[in-house]
């Protein structure tokens, strides 16, 4: 079963969102679906947390948003990575790598 976002290191969710958007502008639902599909449902982001993250990232200038028209012809808010977002993605990815390595080092200790 999927884990709760609380198990994710703070910042990992941001890294996931930023990474997803590095493939191109998407709306929130598409981000959520993309992560789910990519991880074959292992990783399911809570929607509320996703949107909080999106709005926070936008306020930090790592994302920008605009209203566009979705595949089914509805108005949807699209998010896009800024230059600052790309830098932030690199930093968050490094942090994640470091964190995962540390946890593994504990788990593998005998």
């Amino acid at each position: 079963m999927a884990r709760k976002p609380a198990d994710l290191l703070h910042g990992t969710l941001d890294a996931l969102v930023l990474k997803t958007l590095s493939w191109g502008p998407m709306h929130g639902y598409a981000i959520s679906r993309w992560i789910e599909d990519r991880t074959r449902q292992v990783l399911t982001i809570e929607d509320a947390a996703l949107y909080k993250s999106l709005h926070r990232l936008e306020s930090q200038g790592t994302l920008e948003s605009e209203w566009g028209v979705s595949e089914n012809n509805r108005r949807a808010k699209y998010y896009r990575l800024t230059a600052r977002g790309r830098a932030e993605l690199r930093a968050e990815t490094d942090t994640w790598r470091q964190y995962a390595a540390a946890v593994f080092s504990v788990l593998e200790a005998t």
Binding site: G24, P25, H27, G28, Y29, S32, R33, E46, D47, A48, A49, Y51, K52, H55, R56, E58, S59, E64, E66, S70, R74, R75, A76, K77, R80
Partner: protein
């Protein structure tokens, strides 16, 4: 990706106006609703009932309300920041874009910037001058409450300084003033063995510095004790003098300098540019304390009114107090106290001059603005396609307007900055050529208000003329250029008309300015060429004063003057020297009854005569030719010989020789015999007209006074005399004063100063206007040629000769010029009447000036049109027909 993002950025930037809080909440709700709907769809697709799908979507979402609160609060904060950032970001983006656009057309940009700079520079300089002279002449805090206090005669014709007793009584009793000070100037000689020097000393009472809100840069200010009888002599050095003579050494405070042979302790140094209002161009180098004692005669009074006290109430109070002074009360009917601002001292003539200059500079600015509008309009037409494409890509008309405004603003700011530089230089020029009447101009500075004024002009100009093309560009007809590929469509017809009208206006305004300048230049030339009756080149005059207490009788004075003259003649380069009472252009004037022997007395009533008391050598030294008879003999006044001017001789003794006739200037006085007739010495400002009453020369009363004017003629190229004369005087007696050493030529030139000032400035403005109008015409013709390249190509291809094509262009634009010139000449006839008071020997409708201005303008216009027309002649039909 980058293409798309650029466009998206564009759209993002035009998201106007900003959302309110309700809008933000609605946005978040819509975003969430979209998400929930999609999620529900997904669940339905997996086979859930619609209701269950909705609940499922909500359940998956998590705490919806918390997320909503969080996002709305965050977005609101972001929005507030963005409102600021986006604004600046957009400005930066617009400016960057504008800079690129302007760099793409450097010629056009340069023309606009220089044009604006000239207009703004001239306006700012003249505005500064006028502001200083007429609006804010005393630039110190509370300077608008500072007045000169003097007395005016009952008929309002004469102003004199108040009596010392009256000032003392005012100081004791008047409540209208914050401060009441007195000041005067004297000339002093700085005795220094290496370089003695004459200085103007400003003498100020202890109240003057606090009145002006000034403290010394170094040391202390004067106190009332400094001016007491028997107090140690002290001085405060002027800033410039301190720098020049003492290298700005602060240790000078406490040391002594010697003035007129007496030691003065330096107690301080004045701040830079310190001066007292109402000195009118007298530049004091050092400052001395002036006693507040009523016995001081001839000191001028300066007062700072309390806030809220009117001029009238102050004068009323002064009158009342003056009546309590028994001496003043006796003349109360004849003299009334009056307070005046510096601008009250400007004559109406001077004020007219300023207003004419202000008008002229306004015309220059108008022309500059017309030119800028012209160029920007032309560009807007050329860029219609660009704007239309932009609009098609989704830029709102507001965006395009903003874009064009940014370009204009950039141009105007650049023009404004360059204009400030021009104004700064121009102001320096104005100060250098100012006439005596405008001495107050020496204190003109560029102040922040004036800088703000210049920037405001440039911005308003930019916005005004940026807006016209922008509105034009986004007008209703915005759509057609895309449909019709041809650039020579009727699209620019309206703008073309506007631009031709602008050129006609520019032409006619230039004509007005040129005519005015031409008239003033002719006045100046007439004055410069008028015969003076003597040769001022190489002449120097100096005023020599013997200390009265040491030279009490004629014998002593004769010896001293004789010794001085002997030594002066020995100075290398001195050809000749003599004494006289005065030297032109400063001759004495006497008002009296002229009686001629053998004629009925007092036929003419009172006459006004110029007179001088001279030695026999005087006429030779001045090269003032003797027309008949002989010079005065070198005997004392007992001989009662006189000489008269040529015009006077002709008028008083028509048809007979004046030599041998006798005249007297008061009934019952002794008769004087006319021994010779000399050429009239004319005042330059009358342009060579002889002095109406005539000129009479007496034999110089031998050393009758302790003061005399020394006249020296030097060989050409000899160095200045000032120091040599001071040395000579010191060698004879250190107490002898040498004052007002001036080249006579410069005194004569000073009499032209006002006319030269007007002439130079108006000519500068007129030439500027002409250049601007030429550039404007060039722009119009060049543009119309570029628009008609296809047409020319067709004509040439059909066999038209190149010359014929060029003629076609020239003829087309010649109409504009002729129309402009005719309108301008008509306007000029209406306007030049205002100049009448400034003209001499030239009528305001002087045909020569009008004709030459018309011809000159046509010639310039021809050149301006010829350059682009030649290009039309060389159009390559193949290239032209191939299209764009």
């Amino acid at each position: 990706m980058s293409e798309g993002s650029g466009e998206r950025r564009w759209q993002r930037l035009i998201r106007f106006p900003f959302r309110g809080r309700a809008g933000i909440a609605a946005d978040v709700d819509e975003e969430f609703r979209f998400h929930l709907d999609r999620r529900a769809e997904e669940l339905r697709a997996r086979g859930l009932e619609p209701l269950a799908a909705r609940d499922g979507a909500l359940g998956r979402f998590g705490d919806l309300n918390d997320a909503r609160r969080y996002c709305v609060a965050l977005d609101a904060r972001v929005e507030r920041g963005a409102r600021r950032r986006t604004w600046f970001g957009d400005i930066a983006y617009d400016l960057k874009h504008a800079l690129r656009q302007l760099r793409r057309a450097p010629g056009v940009s340069l023309v606009v910037i220089v044009t604006l700079a000239l207009g703004i520079g001239a306006t700012t300089a003249i505005f500064s001058a006028v502001r200083h002279l007429l609006i804010d002449p005393i630039p110190v805090p509370g300077g608008d409450r500072i007045y000169a206090v003097s007395r005016v005669s009952g008929d309002g014709s004469m102003f004199i300084t108040p009596r010392g007793e009256a000032v003392a009584a005012w100081r004791r009793g008047a409540t209208s003033f914050e401060h009441l000070g007195t000041f005067t100037t004297t000339e002093r000689t700085l005795s220094a063995s290496d370089a003695p020097e004459n200085l103007i000393a400003g003498e100020i009472s202890a109240d003057v510095m606090p009145l002006l809100g000034v403290r010394p840069l170094l040391g202390r200010a004067f106190t009332n004790d400094d001016a007491r009888n028997g107090a140690a002599a002290v001085t405060i050095l002027g800033h410039g003098f301190w720098k020049r003579r003492f290298g700005g050494d602060p240790r000078i405070v406490g040391q002594t300098i010697s003035l007129d042979g007496r030691p003065f302790t330096v107690i301080g140094v004045m701040p830079r540019n310190f001066s007292v209002p109402f000195l009118f161009g007298e530049t004091a180098r050092i400052w001395l304390p002036l006693s507040a004692d009523p016995s001081v005669v001839g000191a001028r009074a300066i007062a700072k009114l309390r806030p809220g006290v009117t001029r009238e109430s102050a004068e009323r109070e002064l009158s009342e107090i003056m009546r309590s002074d028994p001496v003043s009360a006796r003349s109360a009917g004849e003299w009334k106290p009056i307070v005046r601002r510096p601008q009250d001292y400007l004559g109406t003539g001077t004020r007219d001059t300023l207003l004419v200059l202000l008008g002229a500079v306004g015309l220059v600015l108008l022309i500059a603005c017309a030119n800028v509008a012209n160029v920007l309009l032309a560009r807007a037409v050329a860029r219609r396609r660009e704007f239309v494409i932009r609009a098609a890509l989704g830029a709102g008309s507001g965006r395009v307007v903003r874009q064009v405004l940014a370009e204009s603003a950039l141009l105007s700011v650049a023009g404004g900055v360059l204009g400030l530089l021009i104004a700064w230089g121009g102001l320096g020029l104005i100060v250098r050529i100012r006439p005596q009447q405008l001495a107050a101009l020496d204190e003109v500075r560029m102040n922040p208000e004036i800088v703000a004024f210049a920037l405001a002009i440039s911005l308003v100009t930019g916005i005004l003329f940026g807006l016209a093309p922008a509105i034009f560009a986004t007008g209703r007809r915005l759509q057609d250029p895309l449909r019709s590929s041809s650039r020579s469509s009727t699209a620019g017809a309206g703008a073309g008309r506007a631009r031709r009208a602008l050129v006609v206006a520019e032409m006619s305004l230039s004509v007005v300015l040129l005519v005015a300048a031409g008239l003033l230049v002719r006045t100046l030339v007439a004055m410069q060429q008028a015969p003076l009756g003597f040769d001022p080149s190489g002449l120097t005059r100096a005023w020599i004063i013997l200390p009265a207490e040491r030279y009490t009788n004629v014998q002593q004075r004769t010896e001293a003057f004789g010794e001085i003259l002997r030594r002066v003649r020995g100075i290398p380069g001195v050809e000749a020297a003599t004494w006289s009472m005065g030297v032109p252009p400063d001759l004495g004037i006497t008002i009296g009854t002229l009686e001629l022997e053998g004629r009925p007395a007092a036929t003419e009533g009172n006459v006004t005569l110029q007179f001088n008391a001279v030695t026999p050598e005087y006429f030779g030294i001045l090269k003032n030719p003797i027309r008949a008879g002989r010079p005065l003999s070198d005997r004392d006044s007992a001989a009662r010989e006189v000489m008269v001017s040529e015009s006077m001789a002709r008028r008083q003794w028509p048809g007979e020789s004046a030599v041998g006739q006798r005249l007297r200037l008061s009934s019952n006085g002794p008769w004087n015999t006319v021994v010779g007739v000399v050429a009239d010495v004319t005042l330059p400002s009358t342009g060579g007209a002889p002095f109406a009453g005539g000129q009479v020369y007496y034999t110089r009363f031998n050393a009758g006074f302790e003061e005399a004017t020394l006249v020296v003629r030097q060989t050409t190229g000899a160095p200045g005399l000032a120091t040599a004369l001071v040395r000579v005087a010191e060698a004879v007696d250190p107490m002898i004063r040498v004052r007002e050493v001036n080249a006579v030529g410069s005194l004569v030139q000073a009499r032209f100063a006002k006319e030269r000032f007007n002439g130079i400035l108006l000519t500068a403005f007129a030439v500027t206007a002409l250049v601007l109008a030429g550039v404007g015409l060039y722009g119009v013709v060049a543009y119309s040629v570029s628009q008609r390249v296809r047409e020319m190509g067709i004509r040439l291809a059909l066999g038209a000769r190149p010359r014929a094509v060029m003629r076609l262009v020239l003829l087309g634009e010649a109409r504009l010029t002729i129309l402009g010139v005719v309108l301008g000449l008509l306007a000029a006839t209406a306007v030049t009447g205002l100049l009448r008071g400034m003209l001499y020997a030239v009528e305001p409708t002087d045909p020569l000036t009008f004709v030459s201005v018309g011809v000159a303008l046509l010639a310039i216009a021809l050149v301006a049109a010829w350059v682009p027309a030649r290009r039309a002649m060389h159009v390559d039909p193949v290239v032209a027909l191939r299209g764009e």
